[in-house]
């Protein structure tokens, strides 16, 4: 199924929950309070902002440090979730 480009979706976003629902199944960048970044496909999240990611890459100081097929991130560590473009 072809999804509309993310820019179009962002225009429709009128609440944080709506944004999160829009980015499920899409590539995201999750930054933790520690500064570590995770890039992956957002599988799902819950009210604690616990996150399940697929095809996860862990970046420390911008450098790829680890890959995880699936990853659960505990919500209290999350600083932000950013919608990203597909990796080339």
């Amino acid at each position: 199924m072809q999804q509309p480009p993310i820019q179009q979706q962002q225009q429709q976003t009128s609440s944080p929950t709506e944004f999160l629902n829009n980015v499920i199944g899409r590539p995201v960048l999750v930054k933790l309070n520690s500064g570590v970044d995770y890039r992956g496909i957002l599988s799902c999240l819950d009210g604690y902002m616990n996150i399940a990611l697929e095809q996860t890459e862990e970046y420390v100081n911008g450098q790829l440090k680890n890959r995880y097929g699936d990853a659960f991130i505990r919500g209290n560590n999350v600083l932000y979730i950013s919608a990203t473009k597909l990796r080339e």
Binding site: C44, A52, T56, R67, Y68, I73, R74, N77
Partner: protein
């Protein structure tokens, strides 16, 4: 007698993040903790706080030391093992099934 339609729930589906942890029960998992600590062990039990009981655990602590003479950073790892471990959930950063991480 009432017959209610029982919703068909795919037991292996990941609908909420904790399902990932549930599907890892009795599997060896990788846990990243605060304070540059990592655990690898078999997940026996967990709860919503991510408190966990792990068995046959290997703990890896990463320490960055600075050599006073050369002022170079030396990365040192310390390994511990435990037969059975209770992990308090608030220290958990990330949980992953290690079979798929090559660990």
């Amino acid at each position: 007698m009432t017959e209610e339609a029982v919703p068909v729930v795919e037991p292996n589906a990941v609908e909420e993040p904790l399902d990932l942890v549930r599907l890892s029960l009795d599997e060896r998992i990788y846990v990243k903790l605060r304070g540059d600590r990592e655990l690898r062990g078999k997940l026996h039990a967990y709860d919503g706080h991510l408190n966990m009981i792990l068995g046959d655990v290997e703990e890896t602590i990463t320490v960055v030391e600075i050599n006073e003479e050369t002022e170079e950073e030396v990365i040192r790892t310390i390994k511990n093992t435990a037969e059975m471990l209770f992990v308090r959930g608030d220290g958990v950063i990330l949980v992953s099934p290690p079979s798929r991480t090559g660990a």
